[in-house]
């Protein structure tokens, strides 16, 4: 998937089968990438009626900030029937954008796509695990 090609992004999302909410957190001051991030999120949501966007303010909307556990803006929570715990911090570009599109498609499919062994391994997890992946656009 080529992040620079909107056609590729649209092709990946146009047929998503279940609803995905992109819960977007912004802040009014000191966030140069918040507007570009919101524009990207809006563009992705335009590819399917099943993708919607909700926006909250990191400073003003304290209950939602707490619910979604975001600490910085811009932040995108990818939410299906339930909160998946998947977050993107920063305005996604390049590989990061591809990852976001893939995450949306994954959440919509409701199938992690992992092997049976992997699923079994994960099923045994009963304490919090927080995974942070540092990425760059290229």
């Amino acid at each position: 998937m080529d992040a620079q090609n909107p056609g590729d992004l649209e092709a990946a999302l146009v047929g998503v089968e279940s609803a995905v909410r992109l819960v977007f957190f912004t802040q009014t001051f000191g966030c140069e990438t918040c507007l570009p991030a919101r524009q990207i999120v809006d563009q992705l949501a335009s590819f399917s009626d099943r993708i919607s966007v909700e926006e909250f303010n990191l400073v003003l909307d304290k209950p939602e900030v707490k619910t979604y556990g975001v600490q910085r803006a811009p932040a995108i929570a990818v939410v299906g029937e339930e909160d998946t715990g998947i977050r993107f911090y920063g305005a996604p570009e390049g590989h990061e954008l591809v990852s976001l599109v893939e995450a949306i498609a994954l959440v919509a499919s409701r199938d992690s796509g992992l092997s049976d062994e992997s699923r079994a391994r994960i099923a045994g997890v009963d304490q919090p695990i927080d995974i942070q992946v540092f990425a760059t656009p290229t």
């Binding site: 977050r87 911090y89 992690s112 994960i122 695990i129 995974i131 942070q132 992946v133 540092f134 656009p137």
Partner: protein, 59 residues
């Protein structure tokens, strides 16, 4: 993994935008994965190995 378990959360962090986090976690190359603030995985690993290391962070 986050999709499979309510206990697991996963964030992608745009390194360019958060130099303080890059410094805190000593990110010198990407992708770099940090699990529960103490297990580090550099680069891309095969699924089974990755999951082992992530779950291993609880040990």
């Amino acid at each position: 993994m986050a999709l499979e378990s309510p206990h697991i959360t996963a964030s992608v962090v745009a390194a360019v935008e958060y130099p303080d986090l890059v410094q805190q976690y000593r990110v010198t190359g990407v992708p770099k994965t940090v699990v529960n603030d103490h297990v580090e995985i550099l680069g891309v690993e095969p699924e089974a190995s990755f999951i082992d290391q992530v779950v291993g962070a609880l040990a």
